[in-house]
Symmetry: C2
DNA sequence: GTTCCGCATGAATCGATAG
DNA sequence: ACTATCGATTCATGCGGAA
């Protein structure tokens, strides 16, 4: 057990729970989760697996869940809900909007709406409609102040930056006269040699092409982005509609503890089979050193 | 002025009306407009120029307008509303959603929500929020069947399509069995060997940042896209919140008649000054042929 | 005439300060 | 307490002048 490793192995705990979220969630303690990221069954979608909730009943069906989520989430935590209303008789349904309004009455703050632009969605043509290439990522919070680690998701900056940094003198001083004396230089130091910019609330991600055995898997980048943004290592992530387990698998990869709830035994077993080998491997490996082959992919389960 | 031009000059009528939309609209006849495209003053925004409507009062303020718009629009016409809710005390306001719900009760069909991705959105950094890079383009209709000229807005096909079409047969069909049998295969045949593709409901445009005299003009491509999509030459376009007149100017360029209503005399005069010189020029030029210098920029007013 | 480079400016939002 | 104003923060784009 040589240990020249800079840090001791961190155990990542992944709890998979089989059952209905409305019941299972009541067993979780108050204020215990840092991030909830989930993509619930959409109204009338996935009929074969989830039974299909009628659009008119969707809000009514979801509110008991969101009530539990509100209880379970830490005050500084965040709830990200991936959802998109379907077309019913030529119209977009309004249940998502009704849900947002109802959740606010429940006590949630509707902080932001991110757009997931699905870059490579299917081609398709309808007489009165184009391809639907985006989904909503609704951010809810308990408080105005919550944990957010913006630096973790910065993106490469446009070309303009390089040329701009050559001459900081004119425009910047004009637009910011108060800082010309003292603080100005300090702020400029933030800019020099900066090649990253903060992202916007529009995410450009391709849909997952690899065939998961789940009917509605989102790309790994999606939970990854929000997990990085709203949690740090060791935090707890919850997905009350686990599905193929993407959220939990990514959480594990990023060394966040996680809880996944799934009502369908098939999916539950499938994810379990994906998690357990790692668990066993790591139990074996624990006496000796465990070195992940891929950086950033260290996995531990207990 | 030689006249080898392939078609005779078409007269395009542009009516500019000064006053409050709620009053002016009552003077327009029923079922007379093919497309309404507008970007009303957002709640509490542009206070210096418009009154500034409080978020709580927004729905109440807008409903009388939308009631008139419903009357004025042809049964086969479309209403496209460009709007975005602002942040109030750390939360996104819900007035846009409440408006959609209220307009449906008024008799509108909420057919679709397009996303305008603003590539060059306003900069800034906040502890709990990223830059807002998108706005809503809400499509409302009177009927399930309306005029839509999809071929007019086709876009060059990206490289992704070619590579993607190669392996459509495998993964994609597996993932969505419902589509394999019926329409899917047929749709693909529309795609193969094409160099143009139908767009999606996500539009990527930069905001206009050159020197207009209006504070917040949307880019010309925005009305252009919807005018091409929902009207043909000779149709009538209405913008009840004209502002800098972009909608009407583009309508004119595309040889659609248009009506613009503006409450602020400054903007009204400004647009008028832009339209009138053309009008005079064309009156002079009518006996002979009028040849536009820039292709796609032909302008006619009577 | 091109290409390159400098430059102003946006439907922004937060937090502190002032009335 | 509650509202109005102000300063600070920050990035992509298209224009115009220069090389």
């Amino acid at each position: 057990m040589s240990s020249s490793h800079p840090y001791s192995p961190i155990e990542v705990k992944t709890d998979l729970l089989l059952g209905d979220s409305r019941e299972i969630l009541t067993q979780l303690p108050d204020n215990s989760v840092d991030l909830i990221f989930t993509s619930p069954p959409y109204a009338d979608q996935r009929k074969s697996t989830y039974g299909g909730i009628h659009p008119d009943k969707y809000v009514e069906w979801f509110l008991p869940v969101s009530e539990q989520l509100l209880r379970v989430l830490k005050p500084t935590g965040t709830f990200v809900l991936n959802i998109k209303e379907k077309v019913v008789e030529g119209e977009r349904s309004t249940y998502v909007m009704e849900l947002i309004i109802a959740m606010r009455k429940q006590g949630w703050l509707w902080t932001e709406e991110f757009i997931w632009h699905k870059k490579n969605c299917y081609p398709g043509k309808w007489p009165n409609r184009f391809r639907d290439a985006w989904e909503r990522l609704l951010q809810f919070n308990k408080q105005k102040h919550f944990n957010m680690y913006q630096d973790e998701v910065m993106v490469p900056m446009g070309d303009w930056a390089k040329s701009r940094l050559k001459n900081l003198s004119d425009t910047d001083k004009m637009r910011d006269p108060s800082k010309v004396g003292s603080g100005f230089g300090k702020n400029i130091s933030n800019w020099v040699n900066r090649d990253k910019a903060y992202p916007t609330n529009v995410l450009h991600l391709a849909t997952e092409c690899s065939n998961k055995n789940h009917s509605a898997a989102f790309p790994e980048e999606l939970p990854e982005w929000f997990i990085k943004l709203f949690t740090k290592e060791g935090d707890i992530v919850l997905d009350p509609f686990m599905g193929s387990g993407t959220t939990n698998i990514i959480a594990q990869r990023l060394r966040r503890d996680s809880i996944g709830i799934e009502i369908m035994p098939e999916y539950y077993d499938m994810v379990k089979k994906q998690i357990e080998p790692l668990q066993l491997f790591l139990l074996d490996a624990r006496p000796t050193e465990y070195e992940s082959t891929k950086p950033g992919r260290r996995k531990t389960v207990r």
